[in-house]
Symmetry: C2
Subunit: 251 residues, 2 copies
């Protein structure tokens, strides 16, 4: 038996943003592991089997997927967005490193996808057109002090910031604290973009100045992009403004 | 006449990584503006017209594209990768802001794509599995001193770093200097991934420790990912190692 494990990202949610390569990998797999809402987006055949789990169980899910592949199954591990950005590819690698030697002999493939910040940025214009960073605001797996230090370092250095996992029921206060820290380094007029389910019928998309940025505008599925001091807004009659970061800095 | 302008990204080069949404926008456009090698990747009909230009002419290209759209054409501006990451979407916005009022009334749409670092990361494992940044090493549009300051800030803060535009004939020395700066903050064993044309027949993919990272391994189409001190390598018998950044930091 020759099992294999493919880690795919289905993109930000709009079916037109899932790559043909990911669709092909899904079509040729037998067993699907993932967070239930991501598995719900797949159109599977009767012979394809779902193994859904909660979004806090990445390592257990990874072990189960690797075990199935080592027993000969064609396994697909499903993330939304890109599987390499705060998603399943790293969890799979962690499980392999800590797991049995046989898992290192498995055929493992990671297929890239459109990660949330790219879809939110495209909806806004081009806020990631200059140097930028992506930071997870979740302190489940790293100390909050480290997140604060990183927010200070990157905003002071002039990078645009994409925040993943900005808020959840278990982490209600961190986002407001992050905005407070960023206001120490950035003008209150800096554009802050809140994007959720961009390109889907339930899209939520708002641009606020940093001085008025409010954690109520985000939930756990929101990606937030905070401009740099260089990021600009172009007003347009009867349309959403364009938000963009110029390619150059003249300082 | 109702012109429109769509900015698309065709992904990193593997046709399976171009989104259906981008392909649809290409099929429904009449006039294509872009850097010649990106236009070469498109399969166009006889009634579709190419306007190729050099890769240093983004603003002139943007103006020509906006002018054509304002005269009623269905225009497609083509980037490789994602159009919002060091690519055409920001140039289009710059041209709109500096251009005639009529350009602000145009129907403008940006469609996201798989940007190079995501494809290189997927090929390697999951090096972008933790907080990361993307920095263009080109000092054509920003001072070199600013780039140095950013490299120091992000490596000291523990972010994984993706470098775009690492080297060119006109910028031969910057990459070696960048490696030298990074060696001040990161262990010499830190994995450095050089990825070019990943997923294409002419793929070039190398992993080196930072202490031996050599600018000769890169050209202008290479995306380089430099791990953090946490980034790990899993050796695998008879296969490329997996390079990944764990989701958590315990410090």
């Amino acid at each position: 038996m020759t099992g294999r494990l493919t880690v795919v990202g289905t993109g930000p949610g709009n079916p037109g943003q899932t790559t043909p390569q990911a669709l092909e990998a899904i079509a040729s797999s037998e067993l699907f592991f993932g967070y239930a809402p991501y598995l719900d987006r797949l159109t599977l055949r009767a012979d394809q089997v779902r193994v859904a789990s909660d979004n806090r169980e990445e390592i257990d899910r990874s072990r189960a997927a690797l075990d199935a592949a080592s027993k000969g199954a064609k396994v697909c591990v499903v993330s939304g967005g890109d599987p390499g950005v705060f998603a399943m590819a790293a969890a799979i690698c962690e499980a392999i490193e800590a797991g049995p030697e046989t898992w290192r002999r498995l055929d493992i493939e990671v297929l890239p996808g459109v990660t949330a910040m790219l879809a939110v940025a495209a909806r806004a214009g081009a806020p990631l057109g200059h140097d930028f960073c992506a930071i997870s605001l979740s302190d489940n797996l790293k100390p909050w002090e480290l997140i604060e230090r990183r927010l200070r370092a990157v905003s002071e250095a002039g990078l645009v910031i994409a925040l993943y996992n900005p808020i959840s029921k278990a982490r209600p206060w961190q986002l407001a604290t992050a905005f407070k820290i960023l206001r120490e380094f950035l003008p209150v007029t800096t554009p802050v973009i809140f994007g959720r389910a961009v390109g889907r019928p339930d899209e939520h998309f708002v641009v606020s100045p940093l001085g008025e940025a409010d954690r109520q505008k985000a939930d756990m599925a929101t990606c937030i992009i905070i401009g740099s001091a260089e990021t600009r807004i172009i007003e347009r009659p009867g349309m959403d403004p364009l938000v963009y970061s110029p390619r150059g800095v003249s300082q």
